[in-house]
Symmetry: C2
Subunit: 328 residues, 2 copies
Amino acid sequence: MNKAIKWGVIGCGNIAQKFVKDLQYVNNSQLYAIASTNKERREFFSDIYNPKKVYKTYESLVQDENVDIVYVATTHNFHYKNTLLCLEANKPVLCEKPICINAKELKHLIGAAKKRKVFLMEALWTRFLPAVKHLITEIENGIIGKPKLIKADFGIMKPPTKGSRFYEKKLGAGALLDLGVYTINFSNFIFGKSPISVSGFAKLTTQNVDEYSAYNLKYESGQIAQLLSSVSFKTPHTAKIYGEKGEIVVHDFYHPKRYTVFFFNGKKITIDKPFPGFGYQYEAVEAQECLLKQKTESTIFSLNDSLKVLTIMDTLRKEWGITYPNDL
Amino acid sequence: MNKAIKWGVIGCGNIAQKFVKDLQYVNNSQLYAIASTNKERREFFSDIYNPKKVYKTYESLVQDENVDIVYVATTHNFHYKNTLLCLEANKPVLCEKPICINAKELKHLIGAAKKRKVFLMEALWTRFLPAVKHLITEIENGIIGKPKLIKADFGIMKPPTKGSRFYEKKLGAGALLDLGVYTINFSNFIFGKSPISVSGFAKLTTQNVDEYSAYNLKYESGQIAQLLSSVSFKTPHTAKIYGEKGEIVVHDFYHPKRYTVFFFNGKKITIDKPFPGFGYQYEAVEAQECLLKQKTESTIFSLNDSLKVLTIMDTLRKEWGITYPNDL
C-alpha cells in the first residue's frame, strides 16, 4: 500500500476549497497543510477542512519537510512568485491556471524546476477529465475525420467592482488570461498542436485589460479556431468541432461530462463520462502519479503545452496593447 | 390606382424562381419579361411563370421599352457586366447579392447609375424583412443598451463538384462572397455603422478560394463582430447580439421570422414577424417604392452600404490571398 501524498495548499480562496473537496476522490491523498496570509480565510478553511498544519506564511509551509506537493491557489499575479518559492524549496507544484502572467515568467519557472528536477504542472484540469480524454482519443482515431474548425465561447458576467480579479489590472485581470486559457487550450488539445498564427480584437476596459475579445487561431493546413472570452456578458460555454464526417458538440467544454457527435450521415452518438465532485480530482491524480513515477512533468499536459498557450496570449495581448505590471 | 411595375428578369436559376414566386405578394407588380441564354431554363421558366416576353439574350430584354426594372439573377461573376448593360440602357436594376465581385466594380456601377440617374440596389433582402426592420429599430431604441458583440454563423455543406458556383473560382466562388455578404451586412445593420478594422483566417481550396473562414470586425469603441462562413460544413444560421442589458438570439438570421430577447433581469420577449413566401417580396416592394418616388437608390439600404461591405470583403480576400479573374 502506497503512503498517502501530503498536499500543502497556498491560498485559501474558492478554487482552493473546491480542490480540497475533490481530494476526497483521490486515493492515497491527504490535505496536510494550508497557508494563507489572511487570518479569516485561514481559520475558515482550517475549521472546515481540518488540515494537520496551518501556516500564516507561504514560506513556513514550503519549509515543512512533510509537504509532498504544493497546490498554488492564489490569484494569477502571484503564481510566479509563489511557485518559485516552492520550487526553490524543492517542493513539487501543481499551480492554478494560468500558471503565469506571461511566457517569460513561465520560462523562469521551467528553468527553476528543471534545475532542481522538481515536478511542476499547470492545473489545467480540463485536460484530465474523462470526457475530454475520451474525446481527444476519438478525434485522434478519426471519429469525424480531420477536424476543420473549432468554436469555443467562454463568456461570464462579472460586475466591474473595485478589487475584482476580473477587472483589476494588478491582479492579472481580463477575460483572456482567466477564460481564454480554456478556449485556447481546448483548441490545441483537439487539433493536437499549436497554431501557426493568431489574431483578434478586444474591447479594453478603462484599466486597459480585455473586457471581451474575439480571436482566431490558424493551424497548419488551414484548420481554424474561432474563440471568444468575456467577463461582461455570459455566453453558453459550448465548443463545437466541425470535421470532415460530422460535428461534435461539447457543452460546458471546460468541464464536460458528455459530448455528442452528429454525423453527416444522420447518425448521432452521445458519450457520457460523468464524475463526482467538481472534477479537480483528475489533475491531482495525474500529479500524484507523476510524483510516484518520479516524473518532473506530465506527459499528458506538459510545461511546453502551457508555454505555447502563454505565448499565444502574449501575442494577442501585444496586438491589443495590454500589459501587466509584471510585464514591465 | 397605380400602374403595375413591369419586371424583367435576367438569369433563370433557382433564385430567379423564388423571386418571381414572391412577386405574387407585391402589389402593382407584374412579371413581364425573362431572358436566359440557356434554352432549357428559359422554356422551363417560361412555362411555369408565364411572362409576357421571353428573350434569348439579355440585350433584347433591356431594349424592351416596357420593362420598368430588371432583376439581375445571374451568378456573381456576371453581376457587373449584366447590371452595366441594364444601366446603360437606362433600366433600373435590383441586382442579386453580392452586387459585384469587388468594390472597384461597384464603384463603376454606381458611377453609371448616377450619371443616368437610374435606380440601382443590391438585392440584400434580409434588410427589408419585417423581423429585421423591427429588430434594428429596437436596437436603436436601446432595447439591450449598447450592443457589445455580435456573433453570426453561416455555414452550408455543398459538395465540391465541378462547375459548382461555390467552388469554381471563375464563377466568383468561396464562402465569403456568397454567405459572408449576409454575416457582414447583418453586423453593419446592428451596429449601425461600418467597422474600423477587419481581420480573419481562411481555409483555401485548391482553386484558392475560401472553403471556410472565421473573421472579426472591430467597430468604434470596441464593438466586435465574430463571424463565420463555410461551404464545406453546416452550422446553425444563428446570430447572437450581446448588449449591456441582455442578449438577442436571431435564428435564421439571414431570413428570420422572429427573434428573442433574453434580458439579464430574467425577462424574456419573443417578437414574431411572420411572412408568406420566401421573403423576397420586401426588397421588391422597396425597389418599386423607390421607382414610384423617382429615387435612384434606397435610403434603407444604400449603394454606399453595399460598397462598405464589398470593401470589407476586398480587405479580407487580400489578407487571404484570394483573387478573381475580374480582379486582375
